[in-house]
């Protein structure tokens, strides 16, 4: 059971990572709705606050002012 929970969590984090990169607006909406849900349930207040802050990253987003040649 524990293996299933951890695996599920890891897969969700990976989905979040790519959602944030490819669809930042959808990611922001998902975060916001999740934060609302946590607030209603009254659990995990720190996570809720973190999710409430609208994520601004669009992945790497831009190579402007960056010369690391990673993209």
């Amino acid at each position: 059971m524990l293996q299933w929970v951890i695996t599920g969590g890891v897969v969700l984090v990976c989905i979040g990572f790519w959602l944030k990169k490819l669809m930042p607006r959808v990611y922001a909406t998902v975060c916001w709705q999740l934060a609302n849900q946590l607030k209603r349930w009254g659990v995990l207040p720190r996570l809720q606050k973190r999710l409430e802050r609208r994520p601004v990253s669009t992945g790497c987003g831009s190579c402007r002012s960056c010369d690391r040649n990673c993209h």
Partner: protein, 628 residues
């Protein structure tokens, strides 16, 4: 002369802009001053954007430092030069003119650099001069009377060694003196000249300054450089030297890297066994062993090859050889209708097409720039190397030919050449007949590669590669593992469990499109996830085959699995596909940004896809026919 009104300037942190001709060491100086690690190289056109950093002087003054692209004149002829012109003149969108211009000049080539300085003086803005590369003056037999030069120019002049720690001491002292107003900065007095008079004035003034301030002794280093150039730039011997260097480079990628690759592979295998021992059977074990180690671990193995390739490129870059190679290859470039300025962007594309496409900003002619952007993805970027190395390692025998050449290195060399030739052919087709632009390029002095620079750059390369593995590749490998493991086959189902998984089903949907070029469904899945970055395809194959292997209780690395399950024609077809490989989202995104056009993105995608499919089709069927 008037003095600078300093009160308004020093109310906030002073903004200092480093300006000068290309390849005079502005970025090296910027890195020394700000502690940044921006890319430096021994050729012109490395910096194409305005970079910003902060420094705190010995007296504790905080300054903002801008590193600007090099330019020979304020009359900009290319997008990168326009950035410098706009910043110097205070026209750059969203920011005021810098408070202080620091004109960086290569002390060894004042004749050229003084022209730009005189142009800057005409702006009438606060200005100081840095004579960079002061350490090589003696070697070149040059002596500069700095106080006299300062008096002639009417602006403070200091010497610096941008590549040495502590080499900016004089400049920092000067900046402190300027900020604390110990040195009252005189505004340079522009000569009131008409456009016609200006050129004659600059020529005459440069001649006068050089006569008064610079003396030449017996230049031993120059003579040695001339001898070297006689060979290196020779139309026949130069090409022989270039071919030998490139050939050894590709041989080294396979021969030198093998022991390190074996070590990493061994480590990954042991890690997989260790996780398998400690974790009981279950989804988490599958995720770590098949997803993370099988996927991302397969890609990490290729780190030594990537580092060896970059070691060669960096040494050639640092030594000053690469611009000479550009000079040698100008004939080929001209035959393809490309100007000499396309060389550096195309060369940068061997690391990654993204900086290569950004470097096209140095190209003056719009059509040349567009053509260079279109062909830059055909240069073999480092992300392709893991795929090439995997397939070559699995299907090409590790044998020596004539006791010297390694067949694997030879195949890699051919793949690189195929990319270059394809790019030249495409350029020839796209360029209009009759358009011709001549190559005008400043050849830098030869340098011994700096161990520190090469080491730092290699470290950065390793960091970038491992960061990509740790983020993009690991996450995609995990997602692909999930897609390849679920849903489980229904009770009583026959065939491999993978075929019932979501990834299996997606792969099977795509197979009809790709089966004419010999691709199986596993390759189709790898092509999709390879959209994120080309090397992800290797990780994807690693994950899919690790799951298949665990089903049939076969263990081992990816190479023997592929050589056992794929035909030679399929492997060669995939190699041909990746010479053109249209899928790389970052490249398409940067094309959109640099051209401001979706049309260019579509053109690039469609033509690269057509080339990739055509080349793979041809390779597959010819190989099938040859091997019967």
């Amino acid at each position: 002369m008037s003095t600078v009104t300093v009160d308004n300037i020093f109310a906030r942190s002073l903004r200092v802009a480093l300006v000068g001709n290309p390849n005079c060491g502005k970025t090296a100086l910027f890195n020394q001053l700000t502690g940044s690690r921006q890319k430096v190289a021994n050729y012109a056109g490395v910096t194409v954007e305005r970079k910003s950093g902060y420094l705190v002087t010995p007296q504790g003054h905080k300054l903002q430092v801008l590193d600007l692209p090099g330019t020979y004149s304020l009359v900009a002829t290319s997008p990168d030069e326009a950035v410098t012109r706009d910043v110097c003149m205070g026209r750059y969108k969203g920011e005021p003119a810098p408070d202080l211009l620091v004109c960086v000049m290569a002390a060894t080539n004042l004749r050229l650099h003084l022209r730009f300085l005189l142009e800057l003086i005409q702006l009438g803005r606060p200005l100081v001069v840095v004579l960079n590369m002061a350490d090589v003056l003696e070697k070149h037999g040059i002596r500069i009377d700095v106080p006299r030069l300062q008096a002639e120019l009417g602006v403070p002049v200091v010497t610096a060694i941008g590549v040495r720690a502590g080499g900016t001491k004089n400049l920092l002292t000067l900046l402190d003196a300027v900020v604390s107003q110990e040195t009252v900065l005189q505004l340079p007095h522009p000569a009131m000249l008409s456009e016609g008079e200006e050129t004659a004035y600059v020529h005459e003034r440069v001649r006068q300054i050089l006569e008064m301030c610079v003396t030449h002794d017996h230049p031993i280093a120059i003579k040695l450089e001339e001898v070297l150039d006689r060979w290196v730039l020779h139309p026949v011997w130069g090409m022989v030297i270039l071919s030998i260097l490139l050939f050894i480079m590709f041989q080294a990628v396979f021969s030198w890297a093998q022991p390190f690759m074996d070590m990493i592979q061994d480590l990954m295998n042991k890690l997989g066994v260790l996780v398998g021992t400690f974790l009981p059977e279950g989804p988490l074990r599958g995720l770590i062993v098949e997803g993370v180690i099988g996927g991302a671990g397969t890609v990490v193995v290729f780190l030594p090859q990537i580092l060896i390739l970059f070691l060669w490129i960096l040494v050639l870059e640092e030594s000053g050889y690469l611009p000479r190679a550009a000079f040698l290859l100008d004939g080929f470039m001209a035959a393809a209708g490309l100007g000499g300025r396309s060389f550096i962007p195309l060369l940068s594309s061997f690391a990654c097409a993204v900086p290569g496409i950004m470097a096209t900003r140095t190209i003056q002619h719009a059509r040349d720039r567009m053509v260079t952007i279109l062909i830059a993805p055909l240069m073999t970027c480092s992300a392709r190397l893991p795929i090439y190395a995997l397939l070559i390692g699995a299907f090409v025998p590790n044998k020596a030919v004539m006791g010297v050449f390694n067949v694997q290195g030879l195949v890699l060399f051919i793949l690189y050449i195929a990319g270059i030739l394809s790019a030249l052919i495409v350029a020839r087709i796209l360029k209009k007949k009759g358009e011709e632009h001549f190559l005008l390029m400043e050849l830098p002095n030869y340098h011994w590669p700096s161990l520190r620079n090469v080491g730092l750059e290699l470290w950065q390369r390793a960091h970038i590669f491992l960061s990509r593995v740790g983020t993009i590749i690991v996450t995609l490998s995990i997602l692909l593992w999930a897609l390849s493991s679920f849903p489980a086959p229904p009770p009583g189902a026959t065939g491999a469990a993978l075929d019932w998984s979501l990834a299996g089903r997606i792969g099977h949907v795509l197979v009809p499109i790709f089966s004419p070029i010999g691709f199986n469904w596993q390759i189709c899945v790898a092509l999709i996830v390879g959209l994120a970055a080309r090397e992800v395809a290797v990780g994807a194959l690693g994950t899919v085959y690790a799951i298949a292997a665990s089903e049939s209780d076969v263990s081992g690395s990816l190479m023997p699995l592929l050589s056992a399950q794929w035909g030679l024609a399929t492997a060669f077809s995939l190699l041909a596909w990746y010479v053109y490989a249209p899928q790389c989202l970052s490249t398409l995104a940067i094309i959109r940004r640099e051209t401001g056009s979706w049309r260019m993105v579509w053109i690039t995608m469609v033509y690269l896809f057509a080339f990739a499919y055509g080349a793979a089709f041809l390779t597959y069927h010819v190989t099938c026919w040859l091997i019967g």
